[in-house]
């Protein structure tokens, strides 16, 4: 017997690192040290700066600067190639690896201002779509 499920927003592909809110917003999650102020991605148990344990899980900013990128042309079967892969630096002082979107994969530049976008990102074992993140150039970025 099957029970009708209420319609729900697609689940985050990685709930520990990426929160999808009920209204479809997405936030990268990490840790903020209440003692020394350092930020970490992903969530940590203890601060690597001062070793305090009083870490708070926080949502990070959704803007970033592109540190570097590549066009990946050979990958594992779950990823369709080619795709642009980058490291983006968030204002909190953390660097996050992310796929890039919004332009042809070759068409990014180091130093571009970027923003997080919530997008479908793979499926679970039952074929249900999951939600993940990519970064795209901000409007007006060169």
């Amino acid at each position: 017997m099957t029970t009708a499920q209420p319609e729900m927003a697609p689940k985050s592909f990685r709930p520990v690192e990426f929160e999808v809110t009920d209204n479809g917003e997405g936030f990268l999650l990490g840790s903020h040290c209440g003692n020394c102020g350092a930020h970490f991605y992903p969530v940590r148990v203890a601060c690597s700066g001062c070793l305090h344990n009083d870490l708070e899980t926080v949502r990070f900013s959704t803007t970033a600067t592109l540190y570097t990128f590549s066009v990946v042309r050979q990958s594992t079967p779950e990823f369709e190639v080619p795709y642009a892969l980058g490291y983006v630096d968030l204002p909190e002082g953390v660097r996050v690896m992310a796929q890039l979107t919004g332009r042809p994969p070759e068409d990014y530049e180091i130093g571009m201002e970027m923003e997080l976008v919530v997008q479908p990102f793979g499926t679970d074992e039952d074929g249900n779509e999951k939600t993940g993140f990519r970064f795209r150039p901000k409007e007006g970025s060169q």
């Binding site: 592909f13 990685r14 690192e17 350092a38 970490f40 991605y41 992903p42 940590r44 690597s48 700066g49 540190y67 570097t68 990128f69 590549s70 066009v71 990946v72 042309r73 050979q74 990958s75 594992t76 990823f79 795709y83 892969l85 980058g86 490291y87 630096d89 002082g93 953390v94 660097r95 690896m97 992310a98 796929q99 070759e106 180091i110 993940g132």
Partner: protein, 380 residues
């Protein structure tokens, strides 16, 4: 505290071995190392086995094949530094004076475990967004080109050099020399890296017999090479993003090794470094302090890193030319150092060398600069 010395070395041909498994390869290297040491195998007191994807108790399967099951053995996994970590563990057992004769063996039958691009462990958040090892090094290459003006042709020259060295190594996976154009026209893997910028998927194994001072005196026949340092560090969690065009982890591991060996980078005559990708060799030698940051691409172009150059890098052919059977790699580097220091390296012999350095760096975990880094210093 006793010193540690290499008494025997062994290594299989690196390449494809469809008719063998990791234990077969490890056994062959093990037996060759014992024969090279010229000792009764019953003198071996303990062993360490480095591998990554070969399954449980691979080292014990090797011992069973060579008739030595019964002695203590630990299998060690540290990604691409697994074999080098086995050497470090073996050296610690000797320095602690628990054992006098210890074998470190590294093995991998990678062709049956992997195709295409190596990736971080699937549990890692970066693997979940599509990280591949070529992709990560490609990003570092792009950033390095932007910061230091390295050209794509200069980067290709690293691969050309290492393939040329491999052509003179009978045990190397690749025996054909290549041109800059071959690199630039090979299949793109992760821009700006192409197929010939990447180390291959390789099967192979290597082993060394390590001994204490007193065992070296008793058994060595004057042929031993001193393992003057064997250091290991893991990368730190970054409190702030750091540069990806320099390797503080490599620098830290090297500095500890130089201190232990009582030398400086200026004393190193040649090195085997972890060139899993062409760009990786650039980052390694600059992190090791063998070349100033930003200068290695020009140095390669001028031939300074060639056999016969000012400071030969990867005379064996490196990972790019000799091949990269993950667990076997770090042990094979030490095998090459010993061959060179003994003067037994044949067509690729570097003249007059006294100090050799080997560097491995393996693994990717989110938020740390690198997972496991090792440096070995061997002195004649």
């Amino acid at each position: 505290m006793t010193g540690v010395h290499v008494l025997g070395i062994g290594m299989t041909r690196f390449g494809r071995h469809p008719d063998k498994d990791a234990a077969d390869l490890g056994s062959a290297a093990f037996q060759e190392a014992v024969a090279d040491a010229g000792i009764d195998p019953r003198l071996i007191e303990a062993a360490y086995c480095g591998h990554v994807f070969q399954g449980m108790v691979t080292g014990q399967r090797i011992l069973a094949q060579v008739g030595l099951a019964g002695i203590p053995l630990s299998n060690v996994e540290n990604a691409c530094s697994s074999g080098a970590t086995a050497i470090r563990e073996a050296s610690l057992a000797i320095r602690a004076e628990e054992h006098d004769v210890v074998v470190a063996v590294g093995t991998e039958h990678l062709t049956t475990k992997f195709r295409g691009a190596l990736t971080p462990d699937p549990s890692d958040p970066e693997a979940a967004v599509g990280a591949t090892m070529p992709g990560v090094y490609a990003m570092r290459a792009r950033r390095y080109m932007e910061e230091f003006g390295m050209t794509r042709r200069q980067l290709a020259m690293v691969a050309v050099k290492n393939k040329r060295n491999a052509a003179a190594n009978p045990l190397a996976h690749f025996r054909d020399e290549i041109t800059i154009e071959d690199v630039l026209e090979s299949r793109p893997i992760a821009d700006p890296l192409r197929l010939l910028d990447c180390s291959p998927v390789t099967d192979g194994a290597a082993a060394v017999v390590l001994v204490s001072d007193r065992a070296a005196t008793k058994l060595g026949d004057g042929r031993t090479i001193r393992l003057a340092a064997s250091t290991l560090f893991t990368g730190s969690v970054e409190v702030e993003p750091t540069t990806m065009t320099f390797e503080p982890l490599t620098q830290k591991t090297a500095q500890a090794a130089y201190e232990r060996a009582g030398i400086g980078p200026e004393d190193v005559d040649f090195a085997e470094v972890h060139d899993c990708f062409s760009i990786a060799e650039v980052l390694r030698v600059e992190g090791l302090g063998l070349f100033e940051q930003g200068t290695y691409p020009g140095a390669v172009e001028r031939g300074e890193a060639d056999i016969g150059g000012r400071l030969p890098i990867n005379p064996s052919g490196g990972l790019l030319g000799k091949g990269h059977p993950l667990g076997g790699t770090g042990v094979a580097q030490v095998v090459e150092l010993v061959r060179q220091l003994r003067g037994e390296a044949g067509d690729r012999q570097i003249e007059g060398v006294k100090v050799g350095l080997a560097h491995c760096r393996g693994g990717k975990a989110v938020g740390i600069e690198g997972a496991a880094c090792t440096v070995q210093v061997l002195v004649k």
